[in-house]
């Protein structure tokens, strides 16, 4: 789509674009290019000499069992968070979509966790599950279960999954609710007149019509778990115990900062960049289809 009526101007449009382009080139493209370049280099421990090594950083990375472990952690983490937050949000959205009193008040009470910083969400849950003084942790322990997220990596994973899910429910809820409200009521009423019970109506009509929304949210949630949960993990478990909650982004961060392995960290960045490009492309394919309806 193009505008028919436009303004003349030789320099003005460039002047208007300049700030955006400057920030983009200096803080996006230049560092991204540096990252790619760095991923082909190995630097000695003192940063005195660098050597171009082609793909050695990548082969080292893929030979390292730690990397696969971190991949698996990320996969488990994303799967659990996306699964739980989508399921819970859908359930709440379906109830909030019904003609009930106070629906908008419910909505207000459910959407605000969107505004809570991931790191803050992490600390909130850490406090409840802190083994010696946490309210919930004490309850669990009094049942005879040895709960300790500081020592047991499965417990730590449970903790970060809960915090990340809690934070994401509100976002998914909003989109599911928007999706539900765009389904024509007449379709559902027709099915009801045909004698379909609520559960059947949900699975045969509503859920399929929601599938584009669900797919979109799935991709968005995966991106969220990959990148935005850094704060949750850093503030609650620091990737531990025993690297049990070290996701790909966390590993990239700690390898570069604590390990000083810039080449390896850059190679990890490039792999993540490729992943994001893929996920973003999928999102836009979806948006395109959506627009054509």
């Amino acid at each position: 789509m193009e505008k028919r009526v436009i303004f003349d101007g030789k320099l003005l449009p460039y002047a208007l674009l300049l700030p955006q382009l400057l920030v983009t080139l200096i803080f996006f493209y230049w560092p991204a290019a540096q990252t790619v370049w760095q991923s082909f280099l190995i630097q000695d421990a003192f940063g005195l000499s660098t050597e171009f090594v082609w793909l050695e950083n990548y082969t080292t990375l893929f030979a390292n069992p730690d990397y696969y472990r971190s991949m698996l952690t990320t996969l488990v983490f994303s799967g659990l968070v996306a699964g739980f937050s989508l399921a819970i949000a859908l359930m709440l959205a379906v109830q909030a979509d019904k003609q009930i009193k106070g629906a908008s008040a419910y909505k207000t009470f459910l959407i605000w966790p969107y505004a809570v910083a991931p790191a803050v969400a992490g600390v909130l849950w850490l406090f409840m599950f802190q083994p010696s003084l946490g309210l919930v942790a004490q309850a669990i322990r009094s049942l005879g279960f040895e709960w300790n997220p500081l020592l047991n990596s499965n417990h730590a994973m449970t903790l970060v999954v809960m915090a990340a899910t809690w934070k994401q429910i509100s976002y998914n809820f909003l989109f599911f609710l928007a999706g539900l409200q765009s389904i024509p009521k007449s379709v559902i009423e027709a099915a009801a007149i045909d004698g379909a019970r609520p559960a059947r109506r949900f699975w045969t009509i509503i859920f399929p019509l929601l599938s584009p929304t669900t797919f979109f949210l799935l991709v968005v949630n995966i991106v969220y778990v990959f990148f935005d949960t850094f704060g949750i993990i850093d503030a609650t478990t620091g990737g531990g115990p025993a690297k049990g909650t070290e996701t790909l982004v966390y590993k990239l961060f700690s390898d570069g900062r604590l390990g000083g392995d810039l080449g390896g960290s850059a190679a990890q960045s490039v792999i993540l960049m490729i992943l994001v490009i893929g996920l973003t492309a999928i999102q836009f394919r979806y948006v395109e289809r959506k627009v054509q309806y």
């Binding site: 436009i6 449009p13 560092p31 109830q95 459910l110 909130l124 928007a178 503030a235």
Partner: protein, 282 residues
Amino acid sequence: MVERKSIFDFLPHLVLLIGILIVAFPVYVAFIASTWDAATIANGTMPLRPGPHFLENYYRTIFVGTSSSTRQPVGGMMLNSLIMALSIAIGKIAISLISAFAIVYFRFPFRMPAFWLIFMTLMLPVEVRIYPTYKIVADLGLLDSYPGLTIPLIASATATLLFRQFFMTVPDELVEASKIDGASPMQFFKDTLLPLSLTSVAALFVIQFIYGWNQYLWPLLITTRDDMQTIVIGIKKMIVTQDALTEWQLAMTTVILAMLPPVLVVIVMQRLFVKGLVETEK
């Protein structure tokens, strides 16, 4: 709907109330903890009702700082977060408005490449280019400064896309009318386009304010001085994972303070926020 009224009518309310309970419970616990003293919490005997130390804890957190180490007062951190969030939100909106204006209302060589250059940044989250970006900011001498905290996060493909889409729907007649009136492009932008965009601007402001306030990785790397810290980073530094010395009542006071501004913004601006969210994502 067609079903007759039955006892199951309370089911939606029940499910939603349980949902709200789950959503609100951690915050309630944090608030309760922020009103008790350290000993009550450390003993694990904290009751589920507010304690007597509300004023003391909030006063100490905001103005004095926590004592066990050399923590800054949280008031200063909140100010830093506020400056960061406002700069990012206003900066993003400003540069996206004018770049979308250039792309929609002018024809010039390099127009589409420029658009794609901006568009592609959607695929470069700060996390994946973190060290080189850090180095550039360091080379520019912007570590521990507000420009260093905000400018690298200001470019925004989503805001530009949103404004571009919105400008496309503005009727051409308006441009013709202002041209007949002899208005310059910038006059048209200021007098016609900007007033029409106010709703989108407000919606985007809510989302970007929250984005800026909640930043974590970037301020963590870029600030080393205590007085430049944001509140989200401040909380993390109060939690000493392996240590009993964490002053949980003050950490929880800080948690409540850190949540308050963005949550208030969402609740007060709910309608705009939802509009902006759905539009930027689709």
